[in-house]
């Protein structure tokens, strides 16, 4: 790829045009975003930030969260287990300290990821964020326990997702992206519920269930036992669920799950994604975002295609 970089740069205006995409109400300069919890301002040191079409921050909650005990991480043969437990400073500190910094530094749309433990709490967070400038949209993380429903995750029930999204969508004109968990029987039905309730886009997938055990001692590699599994090992599943969901809804899809290379990114676009996010790839290759956008640009230029031309065009 190296030899073509200069070529791409010299044609960057055209390439940019071809990489444009829409995610609901947002126009993105590139289809590339980052997966919540895997990327922050520190990463922007490693490459030209204009590679990114949008910036998604780590999930915040109303109250500060201590997070889970150590160890929280373990690398498997083909991916990563994590059990962070949504550690974050809480909404107040986010608004007071993080948000101003994002506003100052980011030249791309900021999508704020948040989560709650009841529909009211989700709504309360949204209301507070609506009052803040510099936010282009929301990614609603519903892979979290619902205190009103025996602690069962919001994301597994179509009815609850419908109710939640209906409430939130009535409160905002900003991008409202619902992030789905793959650990369900029918992700497409849940996406349809979100769409029917007014979501303007769908993000998927959050982490799969995963676990690892020290075979010598029998000790779980992650303190809490079952963890979230991400990285290249989940790519086939993420791609299948992206395709399934793209067949079921009309709103755009922000796809993720094991995207390490521009070839991986293309697979998701063929399957129906309007934009893609890189997560674990940020850890295994800090230049991923740059390499992916270069690769996509080169691919499209060489074939004189726009992203829109291939989106959802998979041949089965």
């Amino acid at each position: 790829m190296g030899t073509h970089l200069s070529e791409i740069f010299s044609q960057s205006l055209t390439a940019r045009e071809q990489l444009k995409t829409k995610l609901g109400v947002l126009e993105l300069n590139t289809p590339l975003t980052v997966a919540s919890g895997t990327f922050d301002l520190e990463n922007l040191e490693f490459f030209d930030p204009s590679c990114l079409g949008a910036f998604v921050c780590k999930t915040i909650t109303k109250e500060p969260q201590k997070g889970n005990p150590q160890p929280r991480l373990y690398e498997t043969e083909a991916g990563l287990l994590n059990s962070i437990g949504l550690q974050n400073p809480g909404l107040d500190l986010f608004i007071a300290e993080k948000l101003p910094k994002y506003r100052e530094v980011l030249e791309m749309p900021l999508i704020v990821s948040f989560s709650g433990s009841s529909i009211d709490e989700f709504a309360e967070i949204l209301m507070r964020l609506e009052a803040c400038s510099g936010i282009s949209g929301y990614e609603v993380n519903i892979s979290c326990p619902n205190v009103e429903n025996e602690g069962i995750a919001f994301g597994i029930s179509e009815e609850i997702v419908y109710k939640l999204v209906q409430r939130l969508s009535s409160m905002t004109e900003r991008e409202l992206c619902i992030k789905l968990s793959p650990n369900v029987t029918d992700i497409a039905a849940i996406a349809q519920a979100a769409e029917a309730a007014g979501a303007s886009s769908i993000a998927l997938i959050n982490t799969l269930y995963g676990m690892a055990i020290d075979y010598q001692t029998g000790v779980s590699r992650i303190k809490k036992g079952i963890a979230g599994y991400s990285g290249i090992g989940i790519k086939p599943t993420a791609l299948a669920l992206t395709y399934k969901t793209a067949q079921a809804v009309k709103i755009p899809i922000l796809a993720m799950g094991g995207i390490y290379s521009w070839q991986d990114a293309l697979e998701f676009i063929w399957a129906g994604a309007s934009a893609i996010a890189i997560g674990t790839a940020n850890f295994v290759n800090p230049l991923s975002a740059f390499e992916i956008i270069m690769g996509l640009g080169e691919y499209l230029l060489a074939r004189n295609l726009k992203l829109q031309d291939i989106k959802g065009g998979v041949t089965i």
Binding site: G67, Y74, E75, L80, F283, V284
Partner: protein
């Protein structure tokens, strides 16, 4: 503090030490001017995604490795081969490429006119080498190092081995209290396995001696982004999980909630 940078550097030299230990040297003057003892880099053998696609070789995480030495930009990493990542590093030879993210972490505070005691265990040795070079001109320095066996020991003032194969038989903390008194110590720097650090902290706390401990944790990003590498820090009633790669790896020993790890 500078944000960590990503760079690729050739290995300028490789040194063999005992058993599974070796040193990789790189050259970077800008980093040489910027770094401090106790900081570390996330490093990895240059991996290519082509490998993943072509040969089923999946790129793995970087590994946190302390700065062992810095000679105006000739930066050394002393590494022990203990698992997947360090094993990949152990395959590298002079001329091979390293990927580096750093400098990461806060580093040790450096004072003047102190009686400093350095205590290291196993692979806690490397950052202490850089630290003692920084301290030696304006402080009294005494360095105790412990390891499982002779192969885990390196130059210092006093050696302990668990099997007694060299130096004193026992754990390095066994001699701590005595040495603090003997050398009139007013500051302790430690790096090593958690149990050793916890034991050393018990002693320094009892004696009310200033103590900075460098901690280890499994890392993913190494730059403060993922919150994977945390340890509990604060008072018994009011603590938080702080990131070893960002707020650490050096913490005030008495503020680490050892009982929760």
């Amino acid at each position: 503090m500078n944000n960590p940078q990503y760079r690729q550097r050739a290995i300028q030299a490789r040194e063999e030490l005992t058993d599974d230990y070796f040193i990789l040297w790189i050259w970077d003057e800008a980093w040489g001017a910027a770094v401090r003892p106790g900081q570390f880099f996330e490093i990895r053998a240059l991996a290519s995604l082509e490998d993943a696609q072509v040969a089923g070789h999946i790129p793995k995480l970087f590994k946190p490795i302390s700065i062992y030495d810095n000679q105006g930009g000739r930066i050394g990493f002393m590494i022990k081969n203990v698992g997947k990542g360090t094993n990949a590093l152990s395959k590298l030879r002079a001329g091979d490429m390293l990927e580096l993210l750093g400098p990461a972490g806060n580093g040790f505070p450096v004072y003047r006119g102190k009686h400093a005691l350095l205590i290291s265990g196993g692979i806690g040795y490397p950052p202490m080498w850089y630290l003692q070079k920084e301290l030696i001109n304006h402080n009294q320095v005494y360095w105790m190092h412990g390891g499982a066996t002779q192969g885990d020991t390196f130059p210092c003032d006093e050696i302990f081995t668990e099997d007694g194969s060299i130096g004193k038989k026992g754990r390095v903390c066994d001699g701590l209290k005595e040495n603090i008194a003997k050398y009139d110590i007013d500051i302790v720097y430690s790096c090593g396995p958690l149990p050793m650090l916890a034991a050393a902290t018990a002693i320094t706390q009892e004696l009310a001696i200033e103590h900075y401990a460098s901690l280890e944790a499994y890392m993913a990003c190494g730059i403060g982004v993922c919150y994977g590498c945390v340890i509990p820090v604060g008072s018994a009633l009011n603590w938080d999980y702080l990131r070893v790669c960002k707020e650490g790896p050096v913490f005030k020993a008495e503020e680490v909630r050892w009982e929760l790890i």
